[in-house]
């Protein structure tokens, strides 16, 4: 168990290196420039350099800060995002913890990240941090609803909260294809809401650089700041993995119900490639958002949730329920 845990942590760190590198290369691609290419082959060691530098940087705590909470906050943020990784299935028969309430677990643990952010913003005793933390509180609490509702639509269809069963239920086709338009709506809502949930642009109001200089992490330096970056990338991976698992079948290859020969060919592609392919596709889409869209304003952000996403997902749940009862899906 300990070895598995250590391996998982090492995997997450390497994954974050890769995501950081990917983000900078994707940004460079969107911005018609080259991106890092001097450190290591094709610039691949850039993130390693950044991390080592942050490790050996002075990790100062401001004088006016609440020292205990200030130092505790980054750990809480990182721990919550790492906890969510536990029930994810990376490949066929490769799941660390197949908890029977997987979806519930994911949505409840991920909402705890707000505590760490609020703690960071409050304890910094910096007005920008405080505004950032308040924004994050409002934002995460609101968008949690839409995320939950869009996940529930699949729970209704598959009849289980367990991630492995949800994946199994997609053996004859992914939910996004089987579930008609309502599931596509859920998927879109999930992507929007989870982008907001992990504070990425266009919903990065909590760390809006042009407005709040750094938001809740304005006062953080060195390794403590690196932990916020780490948790940001883990969160990015987690929401993409969850979206891939719930809507796109996780490690399940692309199957079409009834076409056994075709399904058999698809099975030859290893399941881990299916999983990471889907996950990174979604990660790319979320990065694409970030480097394309301007940021929303706080009232627009809340309007979007409470006036559009929430009512739509509620109606959507009704549709999904009707669909499940009548057996209209494939």
């Amino acid at each position: 168990m300990v070895i598995t845990g250590v391996c998982l942590l090492a995997f997450l760190v390497v994954l974050c290196f890769f995501l950081g590198y990917m983000e900078r290369k994707v940004a460079a691609f969107m911005e018609i420039r080259l991106g890092p290419n001097r450190v290591g082959p094709k610039g691949s060691m850039q993130i390693v350099a950044d991390t080592v530098k942050l490790l050996f940087k002075e990790g100062l705590t401001p004088d006016g800060a609440d020292k205990f909470l200030f130092n505790l906050a980054p750990f809480i943020v990182v721990i919550t995002s790492m906890l969510v990784v536990a029930p994810i299935a990376y490949a066929r028969d490769f799941q660390l913890w197949d908890i029977n309430i997987g979806v519930l677990y994911v949505s409840s643990i991920s909402s705890m990240a707000v505590i760490g952010i609020l703690m960071a913003g409050w304890s910094s005793s910096n007005k920008y941090s405080l505004i950032g933390a308040m924004r994050s509180g409002a934002q995460i609490v609101s968008y949690e609803l839409s995320i939950g509702l869009s996940l529930i639509s699949i729970v209704i269809l598959s009849g289980s909260l367990q991630l492995s069963e949800i994946i199994e239920s997609q053996a004859n086709g992914w939910w996004i294809f089987k579930g008609h338009i309502p599931v596509i709506i859920s998927f879109v809502i999930f992507i929007i809401a989870s982008t907001a949930e992990i504070n990425r642009a266009p919903f990065d109001l909590t760390e809006a650089e042009q407005e709040l200089t750094g938001g809740f992490h304005t006062e953080y330096a060195g390794m403590k700041f690196a932990m916020f970056l780490l948790s940001e990338y883990i969160n990015l991976f987690v929401v993409s993995a969850i979206a891939a698992t719930i809507f796109l079948g996780g490690w399940m290859p692309f199957h079409i119900g009834g076409l056994d020969a075709f399904n058999h060919i698809m099975d030859y592609i290893p399941s881990s490639i299916w999983f990471f392919g889907k996950t990174f596709l979604i990660i790319f889409i979320i990065m694409w958002f970030r480097w394309t869209f301007p940021r929303l304003r706080i009232d627009q952000l809340l309007n979007l949730e409470w006036k559009y996403l929430l009512p739509i997902s509620m109606v959507n749940i009704l549709l999904v329920t009707a669909m499940a009862i009548m057996g209209w899906h494939f």
Partner: protein, 176 residues
């Protein structure tokens, strides 16, 4: 290390005594190299520009000059997360305390590039002015000076590479 061997014991060049500096040994030297490699390749500048030079600094970030190739593109708005402050533009008396404070807020190790004639000496605003600080090194220590009014983006990139060279020769664990 070598100084003491080369100089006869009765003819020390400094009035004081030269202490034997401990050599780091293989492990510490290697660790130093790794740290210096990381630091020099990950210089995150603070978004700080007062006047014209800031525009050339922005030009250095754009697609034509593209300082992201060297990993400089993570410009931080908060001094806490920055390693490097590029003083781009004139510093006046009223700004001087603010700049000092920004510098103090940055965690160690921190580096300063004085970009442009104004920051080096006051530049065009050297004579007959009552409010300009004549050289930013009156306020904070400067690592690299970039002359020009304003310097071209290439000059800024060159200065940052020079700074990288400087960092690579620093000693973190060793005492040099």
């Amino acid at each position: 290390m070598d100084i003491k061997n080369n100089v006869p014991a009765n003819k020390l060049i400094f009035p004081g005594q030269i202490h034997e500096t401990p050599d780091g040994g293989f492990l510490i030297t290697k660790l130093d190299e790794v740290i210096n490699w990381a630091r020099s390749n990950s210089l995150w500048p603070l978004i700080f520009g007062t006047s014209c030079c800031a525009i050339e600094m922005m030009s250095a970030a754009d697609a034509k000059y593209d300082w992201s190739r060297f990993g400089f593109e993570v410009a931080r708005a908060s001094p806490r997360q920055a390693d490097l402050i590029i003083v781009a533009g004139t510093i006046v008396m009223k700004m001087a305390p603010v700049l000092k404070r920004l510098y103090d807020q940055m965690p160690d190790p921190k580096y300063v590039i004085a970009m442009g004639a104004c920051t080096i000496s006051g530049g065009p605003f050297f004579y007959n002015t009552y409010s300009v600080v004549k050289g930013v090194d009156h306020i904070i220590p400067v690592d690299v000076y970039v002359p020009g009014c304003p310097p071209r983006p290439e000059a800024l990139l060159h200065s940052m590479i020079t700074l990288q060279e400087k960092i690579k020769n620093e000693a973190f664990f060793r005492k040099s």
